[in-house]
């Protein structure tokens, strides 16, 4: 177990800035998720920790030890790859035991550790099989077992669940979280799925263009994205531009040129160009003519079983909303909308 420190890390791939991380410390035992769209530099950051990518400048340190010149095989930072990278010519047991075997450990010790690890991932019977004989979910567990078998100081995950179907992914997410909590090893987990990051991580780092744009506890990042990019990434569906009103405590409002006023969480200076970021779950439908609520027209209503997805028109804006199932809404109806200020985020309108 060790902490990880990035100091002035910059990495370029040709013209592209892959990573620019001036300072980042991941304390010992923390589970950190790097999230962001593809190409945001999250995987590069992970591979830099593993030593599979060499930064152009800056230092990576494990604890107090700068590891820039330490080759990947000596970093003891085991990685679970997106495609698992199980060795096809070795049995599951040989795969799991590989790390100990190359360290020259005695066969008996390796066998015992392999059995223990297969027990941990709940696949004690598959040791003699080959990876291709396992399902995707089983291969994923074996990849985790192989990484754990070396008793690494740091665990690295590169989108480990992205090749699995949605249902399996949801189950494994919680399982993985429990396992990581039990182990207490410093963990860096890369994903483009914000829900996965919220389940797995103690801390969430949102990346864009090679830089960390927000760093915080997952719930906090979700509730208070710092800019439009993060809000978008974390599920804001509609963004309405206007001017900020004077902040009152945590809240303020955005007023559009047409006079539509939307209240939300924000702390911009009065008069600043602002964006109100809405999530469908924060927009409700009220009966037409409700006092104090803007009038809307329903453009479409789709029954999804447990809820309805509704598209509203407010002047020239289109806003997505949610309502209960069988709310009896139909296209063309007039209604009003109520925006929950706790679920509307107001961020500066930066270019």
């Amino acid at each position: 177990m060790t902490s990880i420190t990035f100091t002035g890390i910059r990495t370029r791939f040709g013209e592209t800035l892959a990573n620019d991380i001036p300072a980042l410390t991941i304390p010992s035992g923390e589970i950190v998720c790097f999230v962001g769209p593809s190409g945001c530099g999250k995987t590069t950051a992970l591979r830099t920790i593993a030593g599979l990518v060499m930064q152009d400048s800056g230092d990576i340190a494990f604890g107090d030890r700068v590891v820039n010149d330490v080759p990947p095989e000596a970093r003891n930072a085991a990685m679970v790859f997106q495609n698992y990278a199980l060795f096809p010519h070795m049995t599951v047991a040989q795969n799991v035991g590989f790390g100990l075997s190359v360290r020259g450990r005695p066969a008996g010790e390796i066998a015992a550790k392999v059995a223990e690890m297969l027990e941990v991932v709940q696949l004690p019977q598959v040791g003699e099989r080959y990876p291709r004989q396992l399902s995707g979910g089983q291969q994923q567990r074996i990849a985790v077992a192989r990484a754990l078998a070396t008793e690494p100081d740091i665990l690295l995950f590169d989108e480990p669940l992205s090749n699995l179907d949605a249902k399996l992914r949801e189950g494994l997410r919680f399982e993985l979280r429990q396992l990581l909590e039990r182990l207490g090893v410093t963990t860096v987990y890369v994903t483009h799925d914000q829900t996965e990051a919220m389940v797995i991580g103690d801390r969430m780092l949102v990346m864009n263009g090679g830089r960390i744009v927000q760093d915080g506890r997952p719930a906090e990042v979700y509730r208070r994205p710092v800019n439009r990019f993060v809000a978008d990434f974390l599920g804001a569906s509609d963004v309405i531009a206007g001017t900020a009103t004077a902040p009152m405590g945590e809240r303020q409002a955005v007023v559009t040129p047409e006079g539509l006023r939307i209240e939300g969480l924000g702390s911009l200076a009065e008069g600043a160009p602002a964006l109100a970021c809405l999530r469908p779950s924060g927009v409700e439908i009220a009966p037409a003519g409700t006092a104090g609520l803007p009038a809307v027209e329903i453009l479409s209503a789709t029954d999804l079983g447990d809820r309805s997805e509704v598209l509203l028109a407010v002047g020239r804006h289109r806003i997505r909303a949610q309502s209960g199932a069988r709310a009896g809404l139909a296209a063309g109806q007039q209604a009003a909308m109520r925006i929950d200020p706790e679920r509307c985020i107001i961020v500066g309108d930066e270019p």
Binding site: A77, A78, F81, Y84, L86, P88, H89
Partner: protein, 274 residues
């Protein structure tokens, strides 16, 4: 009806191909073992035996030709693999990130010599060898054979290395394996079929090669094809001995082909994640 019609055609074509291949080879066998074969009964020899086979071992220059052929083939194989294995490793694994022109260059380069007329290459080498003293030497012949063997071997082996997803090496390094351990425990088990195919090609190509040896090695370096040529086109005609020598080329070639077929049947490079 239509299907049956096609089956007849297919059987006819396959049969013709088999006849075209097997008849000449069968004749070589018959010639090699026929000790009495009168013109009055042209279909089958009257007496068969191992006389001609054994006679080969009584003639010193024929034994030398046999040894020369196999030795040159072995040297060509070893030298080709020694040169191309590291190159294929670099091109198939290291240079893959910078894929693009190196890959295309190899592709082009490896195809070209296979299209060269051997005799033209031999002509060029003849002048080159005369000025460097490589004519009539083993080294000269091995180098000449490598001109053809290296591109093919490189092609086969780069292909084998390219089939190994880069994540395997990364995962192995990540789990604590040194570069040498990665080579021994990840790459070798996954590319050895390609290496073997390359080696077999180099060996059989060198064994069968005639023009380069004739122009660059003869008369000091004599091989089986050269002796066969002399027995059928030289001053001392002896088709039976030529046929026996032919068997010394044919049998290893058939054995190697069989080996390759069996290997490739078992070949399966499993992609990452599969």
């Amino acid at each position: 009806m239509r299907r049956e019609g096609w089956n007849v055609w297919a059987a006819g074509i396959v049969g013709l191909a088999i006849v075209l291949i097997l008849v000449p080879l069968g004749l070589v066998f018959l010639y090699a073992f026929a000790t009495k074969w009168f013109a009055s009964s042209p279909w089958w020899p009257q007496e068969m035996g191992t006389k001609w086979l054994l006679s080969i071992f009584e003639t010193e220059n024929l034994v030398n030709a046999l040894l020369n052929s196999y030795l040159l083939a072995a040297l060509t194989t070893v030298a080709t693999l020694a040169l191309t294995f590291p190159a294929a490793y670099v091109l198939g694994t290291r240079a893959r990130q910078a894929a693009g022109w190196p890959g295309r260059a190899i592709e082009t380069f490896s195809n070209l010599p296979l299209a060269f007329p051997t005799i033209t290459v031999a002509l060029g080498l003849l002048w080159l060898y005369r000025s460097t003293g490589l004519t009539n030497t083993y080294l000269g012949i091995v180098l000449a054979h490598m001109i053809m063997a290296v591109p093919y071997a490189l092609r086969a082996m780069v292909g084998a290395f390219l089939m190994v997803p880069p994540e395997y090496e990364e995962a192995a390094r990540n789990l604590g394996a040194s570069r040498l351990q990665v080579m021994r425990r990840i790459y070798l088990p996954l590319v050895w079929r390609g290496v073997l195919a390359a080696g077999i090609f180099a060996f059989s190509w060198s064994l069968n090669e005639f023009v380069l040896v004739l122009m660059l090695g003869f008369p000091d370096v004599e091989t089986i094809p050269i002796q066969i040529y002399q027995f059928v086109g030289g001053y001392y005609l002896h088709p039976q001995k030529a046929a026996v020598l032919g068997l010394f080329l044919l049998i290893p070639a058939l054995a190697l082909m069989y080996g390759v077929e069996r290997l490739l049947k078992g070949a399966s490079v499993v992609p990452a994640g599969a």
